[in-house]
């Protein structure tokens, strides 16, 4: 696809959880919990509040359509009344603010003079308060690639959905940096590069959360004659370009469909007809058990509703998404029928009811009357939009990079001040005093050039969360390669075996590696020692157990004994015996002495033996 030709414009919003000690508006830890650890739960309704103009935000209004708006929340011994929306927020977390400002400075932005926290209306249940607290921290930066960074906001993370309308409060309130780029990217690949670069910047601070769900990209995409669409929740950077590609394709297809509809002089039928009777003996289980089946006819839509607009998605899928907001399971349309147990006869009779021809498409919804009526309304609404081409929407990413409708793009009319949190001044002195962290890319180079790690190890080490520990180890005199391999490969392997390596404190790792450097434990024994430490044994005990120190005297006598037993062989082979005997010695000392030391003594002794 020629993206220049179709006029692709894309921007991204990156939401990154910050790894602060406490949450943004309370002093709880930013720790995720298992739902089984919950210590309480409660249930609440949320409702859109009336604005001055009597309008309710359109995104909120969409949520209000759901019949049953009661949400269940799980509380923990590591959450508090602030998450419960039962206590005013504590003052803005200074650590989080500093971190977001550091990020701003890294991107060449200008901080606001005074940060005001706002309440952004969110009534999907993910915020107990019904709003997300967010504040604009800095403006107008630029990346080396030239992409503009419009703003960075400091927000509170939402509660995690457990299932249905149940949410877990452990995540609510974790500080989140929201970085918004300009709509400056022109190709899917460019989007990916910018996202990757920002990701690297974030990780360079060493104070962002890592792991699944801790960073989420939203992508804003439009093409010429299309519309701005925001695709939320792209967690996997590897898919981001594909998401852009598929959205561009979708918009193009919708534009084409719109043109075709105009050409056909298509129209959305006014009539909603109950056809429950038609399906009283149907083979379709869904239709058979439905209390009410409603149908409408889309004149001139025939073939277009079933047309694929994105892998796995049709115009019908878009309509279905809209219908689902009313609580129905989905819809049937005649472009895909007969199928799913609906017979050809039934389709014929159905079409007859509307006097519909091949160029028309009839849509069926089955549920309670109330829900079905709501759904047909939604379907008509979406069908009307098809004439315009692409609707402005917030969409959620599906598994392979396609997307589904979530809600209309939120209006601007959804923010008002968080009066419970006092504004924070950002003085110039303070701004100037902020120190920038070394970029991971710079660190990678330094590890390769200054510490002599090979390229891949250098990169791996630079990106690793263990890199501060690595640097400490090197400073203490541990060889960079030993440190890097232990911290990366050894620990990873042990972890794969099931050892709880996360519980091993950094000081224990350094203690062990220093012992190796001092010859008190052999490099070879490191994995086994760490396995013991992960099991709860103290590091010195583990060294003593796995590799009890052998004095040089003991080692010499051992070697002499072994050589004595192989006197003939040694005499015969001379210095060539070093290799084979080395193996025997190594096995005897089970990694308690470094091979180099053994080898030195062994050579000396063999030399002595053959010379004597």
């Amino acid at each position: 696809m020629d993206y220049e030709k179709i006029g692709l414009m894309a921007g991204i919003e990156i939401h990154q959880q910050l790894d602060t000690a406490e949450k943004l508006f309370c002093h709880c830890p930013t720790r995720l919990r298992d739902v089984d650890e919950r210590c309480g739960e409660f249930r609440r309704y949320l409702r859109a509040t009336e604005s001055e103009m009597g309008e309710i935000d359109r995104a909120a209004e969409e949520e209000m359509k759901k019949q049953d708006r009661i949400y269940t929340y799980y509380a923990y011994d590591s959450t508090c009344l602030v998450e419960n929306d039962e206590e005013p927020p504590a003052p803005l977390n200074a650590e989080a603010l500093e971190l977001s400002l550091t990020l701003a400075k890294m991107m060449g932005m200008t901080p606001v003079q005074q940060v005001h926290m706002m309440r952004k209306l969110v009534i999907d249940g993910s915020n107990t308060s019904g709003f997300q607290r967010t504040g604009l921290v800095a403006l107008n930066g630029k990346l080396p690639s030239g992409a503009r960074i419009e703003s960075i906001c400091l927000e509170e993370e939402a509660a995690q959905r457990v299932e249905g309308d149940t949410f877990s409060l452990d995540r609510l309130g974790i500080p989140l940096a929201e970085i918004t780029t300009g709509p400056d990217m022109r190709t899917p690949e460019e989007v990916k590069e910018v996202a990757a670069y920002i990701g690297m910047l974030l990780r360079s601070t060493g104070k962002v959360k890592r792991g699944l769900g801790t960073i989420r990209q939203d992508v804003n995409i439009s093409i010429r004659d299309g519309a701005r669409v925001e695709i939320k929740g792209v967690q996997d950077l590897g898919l981001i370009d594909e998401v852009v590609r598929r959205e561009a394709q979708r918009q193009q297809n919708l534009i084409d469909i719109a043109a075709e509809l105009k050409k056909r002089e298509a129209a959305v039928g006014e009539e909603i007809i109950e056809v429950t009777d038609l399906f009283k003996d149907t083979e379709s289980a869904i239709l058979k058990r439905a209390k009410c089946i409603l149908a409408l006819c889309l004149k001139g839509f025939g073939g277009l509703v079933g047309k694929e607009i994105q892998p796995g998605r049709r115009l019908g899928s878009e309509m279905s998404d809209y219908a689902k907001k009313c609580g129905v399971g989905g819809l049937f349309h005649t472009d895909e029928l007969p199928a799913y147990g609906v017979s050809g006869d039934e389709v014929r009779l159905l079409k007859e009811r509307f006097s519909a021809g091949d160029e028309d498409c009839v849509i069926l919804v089955a549920d309670t009357r109330k829900k079905a009526e709501c759904a047909t309304g939604q379907i008509r609404k979406r069908a009307m939009m098809a004439f315009e081409g692409v609707p402005e929407e917030t969409r959620k990413m599906l598994e392979e990079g396609s997307s589904a409708y979530m809600r209309p793009l939120p209006g601007a009319a959804r923010m008002y001040p968080e009066t419970d949190v006092l504004p924070v001044d950002i003085s110039e002195e303070y701004w100037e005093s902020l120190e920038l962290p070394e970029l991971i890319t710079d660190r990678e180079k330094r590890f390769a050039t200054e510490l002599g790690l090979d390229e891949s190890l250098a990169k791996q080490m630079a990106y690793s969360s263990k890199s501060p520990l690595f640097e400490e180890a090197v400073l203490k005199g541990i060889k960079p390669n030993l440190a890097a391999r232990t911290l990366l490969s050894t620990l990873r392997e042990l972890s794969r075996e099931g050892a709880d390596v996360e519980s091993i404190p950094g000081r224990d790792l350094i203690f062990l590696l220093l012992a190796v450097e001092e010859g008190k434990a052999a490099k070879e024994a490191v994995p086994e020692i760490l396995r013991e430490v992960a099991g709860g044994v103290s590091v010195s005990d583990a060294i003593e157990k796995i590799a009890p120190s052998i004095s040089e005297d003991e080692l010499v006598s051992l070697i002499r004994k072994l050589l004595d037993e192989r006197k003939d062989f040694v005499r015969e082979q001379g210095m060539r015996a070093v290799g084979p005997v080395m193996g025997v010695v190594m096995k005897e000392v089970r990694g308690r002495v470094d091979g180099k030391i053994i080898s030195e003594i062994l050579k000396k002794e063999i030399k002595y033996m053959i010379s004597s």
Binding site: R43, T49, E50, M53, M118, A413
Partner: protein
């Protein structure tokens, strides 16, 4: 500067031109609402006025009331049961008109036919006995004029005091229901809607006394109906902050069904005229005793008509303070003893200091809550000039404020 709140402004900042609405100026910083919706604080000097945008007056949509429903009155003292947000400026305004309230809590329209009165608009911590009188007379008139129930919206800080005050000042045949919200009405999670609907359900119920209707739990599951003389705010911020002390609750209102269940001992609606007796002797205070307290603190209430002491345990002060208490009593102050324990009953017959306090002329407050004791003392002293009779009234249950026995489990 001639820039007013709501004016359209711009300023050069961070290499770009920011546009938005001017909100206010605080400590030399102009607060501007950017078009993105975010507020930022910026040096006031950087601001340039663009064009004046007069705030559009809200379009008053008349709400149709169902004339077949019972007439209810909403009396507001400034507690916000309903509010509107102007997303353009971010301003939140409280709503006091029946129309506004019914628009904010749509379910109300199905419960009653509402009229609204606003005798005062204050923060509840600024409530005074003088305003209680106005409030009582407003509520009284509403009942006289046919209200089948009265809902009093009130800030939660001193709601219990006001509910106790109205309990004594009005002998009511219909429910007078105090209600408030612990989370402001402008937030989607506010308890205002549920509390408001439940209070309306209580107001049309068979209840016949002054009560407080608020969340019973942290969930939006049901409200408790508390007796006005027995309720206390027991948490600074939780929805279920209000608790009945020393008695069971009067009943519950289930949500969202709005089913009302009343306890057997709750007073029932009567077919009678209300009566108003709003005389209060406002010169009554509360004193919290603490170890090492100087008798001078007691003496500072000299000249008061009444004083409620929150003593320790069963109702004690230090022996050192007793002479000062005796002087107060001798000089004409009625002194009532309550306990800082809040739960349980004052009994000054058990220990020496207690007996000394009784000898000094202190009246045992039984299981009166300190706040209810203060309000009752104001009312009793406003109505009864004979000290002996006043003391007797203080120990007589008038509005369910005094329990003869303390039930198991409380």
């Amino acid at each position: 500067m001639s820039i007013k709140s709501g004016d359209r402004v711009s300023c050069s900042y961070a290499g770009s031109e920011l546009e938005g609405f001017f909100i206010t100026e605080r400590d030399g910083k102009a607060v501007i609402k950017l078009d993105s919706g975010y507020n930022v604080g910026i040096d006031a000097g950087l601001m340039k006025k663009l064009e004046t945008q007069a705030p559009k007056p809200p379009v008053p949509v008349k709400i149709e009331q169902d004339e077949s429903l019972p007439p209810l009155s909403i009396v507001s003292t400034g507690g916000t049961i309903a509010s509107k947000i102007d997303y353009r400026t971010g301003a939140v305004t409280s709503q006091f008109e029946a129309d506004d309230i019914m628009r904010a809590i749509p379910g109300l329209a199905g419960i009653g036919r509402f009229s609204a009165k606003v005798p005062a608009t204050i923060l509840s911590e600024n409530m005074t006995p003088a305003i209680w009188k106005e409030l009582a007379s407003t509520v009284y008139s509403e009942i006289r004029n046919g209200a089948r129930g009265v809902i009093v919206t009130h800030g939660t800080d001193t709601m219990a005091y006001s509910a106790a005050a109205l309990s004594f000042m009005i002998d009511t045949p219909v429910p007078i229901v105090f209600v408030g919200s612990q989370r402001s009405a402008d937030r989607p999670s506010s308890d205002n809607v549920m509390n408001g609907l439940c209070s309306a359900a209580a107001a049309v119920s068979d209840l016949g006394e002054v009560s407080v209707v608020m969340h019973a739990t942290t969930s939006d599951d049901y409200c408790a109906i508390h007796r006005g003389t027995r309720v206390r705010k027991m948490h600074t911020s939780r929805r279920d902050a209000f608790a009945s002390i020393g008695t069971d609750i009067l009943g519950t209102v289930d949500y969202p069904s709005l089913d009302v269940k009343l306890s057997g001992f709750a007073a029932r609606r009567r077919d009678a005229e209300p009566s108003l007796d709003d005389r209060l002797d406002e010169k009554v205070g509360i004193m919290y005793f603490y170890p090492g307290m100087s008798p001078a603190v007691v003496e500072s209430f000299k000249g008061y008509s009444g004083l409620v002491i929150m003593g320790t345990g069963l109702g004690h002060t230090s022996s050192e303070c007793i002479p000062a208490v005796r002087s107060l009593v001798r000089d004409g102050t009625q002194v009532v003893m309550t306990s800082q324990c809040l739960n349980g009953r004052v009994c000054d017959r058990v220990y020496d200091t207690g007996r000394d306090l009784l000898n000094a002329g202190v009246i045992e407050g039984g299981d009166l809550l300190p706040e209810a004791a203060m309000v009752k003392l104001m009312w009793v002293l406003g109505n009864e000039s004979d000290p002996g009779k006043a003391a007797e009234l203080m120990q007589t249950d008038l509005r369910g404020e005094l329990g003869r026995c303390t039930p198991h489990g409380l």
